[in-house]
Symmetry: C2
Subunit: 202 residues, 2 copies
DNA sequence: ACAAAGTATGTACCATTGTACGCAGATTCA
DNA sequence: TGAATCTGCGTACAATGGTACATACTTTGT
């Protein structure tokens, strides 16, 4: 007498997917056992069986989100040879064809906020950011990668706040270009710790 | 016989302050009538009396937050004469002496997320951003102001995610400087819609 | 002083939540 | 086949939530 086999092996993953759907559309605060069960089309007991408590369910959902996700710009970035390619990959990931949908941005934001009170989720987020920066570092310096990462989050936040007001690709592109070029034109000067000059000649 | 006067005129504002405290420390999802009442040291009925429903209370709290708040960099920005002054004001507002505390950043993020489902709060946020950009526009172009605004949110998000890992001021400064200088060195070229060049000479 | 109107609060309801738990199939090994 | 074990699920319960409302207290106009 050993172990039974799950009658519906998809059930667990379906619950996790449903959890992410609920979180994206209604927010983490609305992610209850019952709502998730309803979204997944499974009975309540089914969700409590697979996930002992709600925290575990939500964290697991965020973990699957991480596992199924690579930074949007990963592939384009890998194939970028010139700085201009890098900039275009970043623009595209911000407001172009490889950019996340609004629902995905909301999902990130929900995860971010949940992570403020959940160490496990915070760890997931730090891991995601680490991956993101690692990919950027293939083409950029550490300083530039960090700035680019921060800026992209900022743009996404703007999109979240103005769902109907699309970002101006020209503005976005110029900003990334300024950061990417910074590495070439400035880093050596910043090493000297210069802070004083107001209008650096070029 | 007309109207009675409130026995404790501070009560309403104290409730609102308590609401913000609860939101900052526990999150909006934890902001219940009872918890806010406890935080404010007033009975439950007192909170329901001043605010007919919870949504109203929370929105009012966010409104008071907006009213009592000017962008952190407003004053330093107004007194900035050179680009270097502007950059320093931005760095200071990001990770220096005029930067918001972690709790305030969390508060912004909570408001941001709540705004995703509350049109009234979304409007508050758009108003805040408008003010922010308007102040930046005293010294910067529209495009630069938008990029700077986005980048600052990005840095703050980083701080929220790494509470114990302070931002590197040098990196932050260089990023802002790159954006601020962009306006001078690039805008005319971008007007020609150039996207092609990979390593722009300088 | 008295009554009306506004201020302030305690209590009570009903809905929703996380979780515990018992029961029924299914599967497996002897 | 039969007992043991796992899978899967429905129900029940205590806690917490928003909100309604009856009641008491203050202030004020006459």
């Amino acid at each position: 007498m050993r172990k039974g086999k799950p009658n519906d092996p998809e059930r667990r993953t379906r619950i996790l997917r449903a959890a992410l759907e609920v979180i994206a559309t209604e927010g983490v605060h609305a992610a209850s056992y019952r709502r998730i069960a309803a979204q997944a089309g499974v009975p309540l007991g089914s969700t409590t069986y697979y996930f002992a408590d709600l925290e575990t369910l939500i964290v697991s959902a965020f973990e699957t989100l991480r596992d199924g996700l690579e930074p949007r710009y990963a592939a384009p970035m890998r194939s970028s040879r010139t700085d201009a390619d890098v900039v275009e990959a970043l623009v595209s990931a911000t407001c172009g064809s490889t950019a996340p949908a609004l629902a995905d941005i909301r999902l990130y934001e929900e995860m971010h906020l949940y992570g403020a009170r959940s160490p496990r989720v915070a760890e997931i987020l730090r891991g995601l950011q680490k991956d993101s920066i690692m990919i950027l570092r293939r083409s950029l310096s550490e300083a530039t990668a960090r700035a680019v990462d921060a800026l992209m989050w900022g743009w996404w936040g703007y999109r979240s706040l103005h769902p109907d007001d699309p970002l101006d690709a020209v503005i976005v592109r110029n900003a990334y270009r300024a950061l990417v070029d910074m590495a070439v034109t400035r880093m050596e000067r910043s090493d000297r710790g210069g802070v004083s000059d107001s209008s650096p000649g070029l």
